[in-house]
Symmetry: C2
Subunit: 404 residues, 2 copies
């Protein structure tokens, strides 16, 4: 497997574009994204478990009921959620794709991200459709990635190659992250494409298995969004024999998918709202996967620890505290904690109690932009990883007046 | 029932004091508190459910096993948690009370609050004991309240009178709040005294029942502390017939207790770390108490909503979002939301969708220091209230480098 450029257009037969339709005032970046496969695709998705669901998710779920799709349309600047006419508007976006590209509206995935509870007008999207479809390109991933950004400071995309059935396959993804991110059984806005041939059933299985250890282990601010969704389109143009059962090819596919999703998780966490640091909590020595995950996620979600990391303060008591209220069944007298970055590793706690360490050394390590919080539960050989970011002045600033 | 002055010394026969022992550098306020009853008391307590428990809680739990106690000693500046010799030090604090006042060490409640994982030395407390005991006074509540403050900006105390068995009784309390507050089945550091006579069993019942709707419905930052504890001492000096069963007197006692605890909740929430606003979420129209509580607490805990309240931004979509991921079983199409303060009330959502409102009016309402977030679930007649505060730059500042 190899990292390559090209994002969602790295796989054969996928075109993408993003244009500025003017959904929200003062935006200069594109705000509507379109991804289209040359041929129909196996399709799979996972959705937020928030009871308040964006209308686009309801429409997408219906369109994916048959396991196939061919295009993704997604706007930023408005979540199209908690609006009386939300379903109608979301369906309208799919209809626009049918009108302009001849793809059945039922084969379109639709997403929206932005403010909740403000009516979304179809008019600006309708007006922008000619430019959006005319500009579709086999190198257009970056425009699409830009169009789904909200408070993200960086577009998020990557791609990999892998081998299945003796054929070289490609997989690429784009993501929108930043705020209201605390996936629960599903995840945030991520669109993945691949030219591998895989049945809808296996594709859904691969995605559902993967998110359990990737996007579900990511938290920016503890707020599970109403519009979270990850979709995968697989168009089969790599020419491999269709993956219809578990085995070597499915494993290769899973590995490629995991590479894409872990990297997108890290990109989303590192560019969390206001973030100055990517935090990764690696829990080892657990007796069960559930305990490992509960601890890793609890540490990553602690406001106090997040603020301490912003201040490069090795306040490991907050790590112990977060493990203690995580719900995990652990022996607190066996816990070890260390902080690691490009500048080295400092051990701060062993067997549940503090050990002497150099504050100066710890500060140097914690001033780096990527920090690993290493927790050893000392009770087994199971591990789990969670991703997040620090809590900063800018998080408060960004969210103190997001709507205007 | 009437609010009175005097804090924990308002009830007959309680003396208190607080002195500066120098547990942490640069402190100018007292840092060790002592509360003493003239006679032995019925005693009850609730403790944090965090698996990582401060050593003082373990010692206090043992001392309260027989339902009686006579004194409270508590230091700030160091939590005495995750220290190998923690139990020994906590017991040592109780022994100091026995040495200086002749009260059995087993009748002493001990608490500590401050940094986790730094060894606590008994020496400064030992040195300060002569002044601490010599200064005990029937008007000393404020000194004790000051001594347990950490990042609190205001000392928190109040008292009430009530009638039981035809006698005028008194109840008072002090609290330390501010950060690492997200009580779970127990609560933060609160010491309550009363001169009512009540059996240990009924006292524990009253406290356990009360915290379910008071301290357990309070959150500053979602971090359940390792050192949370609420204790009540009842010395019987009011002369009422001992309350040994439920009935009129027990109800009067419960009502007084609830008045004290709700007010302390509001004080703690309004003075949360970095807070500029007290937030109160009142959920009505629920079908079950569990659903009402889940919704109220989820709204109060949402970082995004807390930041919006800091910015006086009527971003009600975040209220809906928090209800949606709360775990409560609700019909999202029936939810109504309004914001209320001393400046009036503005309705922003009905039946799950937005309604037109004046942004100017909403801003004026949300600029007030006490905000009620009113949620009507439209599905029954059960209600619940939760308390919290806004998320501000100062929360990040305070917690970015708390240890130094």
């Amino acid at each position: 497997m190899e990292l390559i450029k090209g994002g969602v257009c790295a796989p054969k037969g996928f075109r993408a574009n993003g244009v500025l339709c003017g959904i929200k005032a003062n935006r200069t970046k594109p705000d509507v994204a379109l991804i289209v496969s040359d041929v129909p695709c196996s399709a799979a998705a996972v959705y937020t478990t928030n009871l308040v669901k964006g209308a686009p998710l309801t429409v997408t779920k219906a369109h994916l009921a048959n396991g196939t799709a061919q295009a993704v349309i997604c706007n930023s600047g408005n979540a199209n959620t908690c609006n009386a006419n939300g379903i109608e508007i979301a369906q309208g976006m799919c209809d626009l794709v049918q009108t302009h590209l001849g793809i059945d509206a039922n084969d379109v995935i639709v997403g929206s991200t932005g403010v909740i509870g403000q009516p979304l007008s179809l008019a600006p999207i309708e007006k922008g459709m000619a430019a959006l479809t005319a500009g579709l390109s086999y190198t257009g991933s970056d425009q699409a990635a830009q169009a789904i950004m909200t408070t993200d400071t960086r577009a998020k995309e990557l791609a990999v190659t892998f081998t299945a059935g003796g054929k070289t396959c490609h997989m690429g993804g784009i993501a929108k992250g930043s705020g209201m991110i605390h996936p629960n059984m599903a995840t945030m806005l991520v669109f993945i494409t691949t030219d591998a041939a895989i049945s809808p059933q296996l594709l859904q299985k691969a995605l559902s298995q993967d998110v359990a250890s990737t996007f579900n282990m990511l938290s920016i601010d503890g707020d599970t969004s109403t519009n979270d969704m990850v979709t995968v389109l697989a168009n089969g143009l790599a020419g491999n024999e269709e993956i219809c059962q578990e085995g070597e090819d499915f494993s290769a596919f899973m590995q490629a998918l995991n590479t894409v999703t872990v990297q997108l998780c890290r990109m989303i966490a590192g560019d969390g709202e206001g973030a100055t640091k990517l935090l990764q909590c690696c829990v080892t020595g657990a007796d069960t996967l559930e305990n490992a995950k509960l601890c890793a996620k609890s540490v990553i979600c602690s406001s106090l620890l997040k603020a301490a990391m912003f201040g490069a303060d090795a306040n490991w008591g907050r790590v112990l505290c977060a493990i203690g209220y995580s719900g995990a069944k652990v022996d607190t007298g066996k816990i070890g904690v260390a902080f690691r970055s490009a500048k080295g590793t400092v051990t701060v706690c062993e067997k549940g109690s503090g050990v002497p360490f150099s504050e100066e050394n710890a500060k140097e390590i914690l001033l780096e932009p990527e920090i690993d919080i290493l927790v050893d539960l000392g009770s087994g050989d199971i591990s789990a990883t969670a991703w997040g970011c620090d809590l900063t002045y800018d998080y408060v600033k960004i969210n103190g007046d997001y709507r205007t």
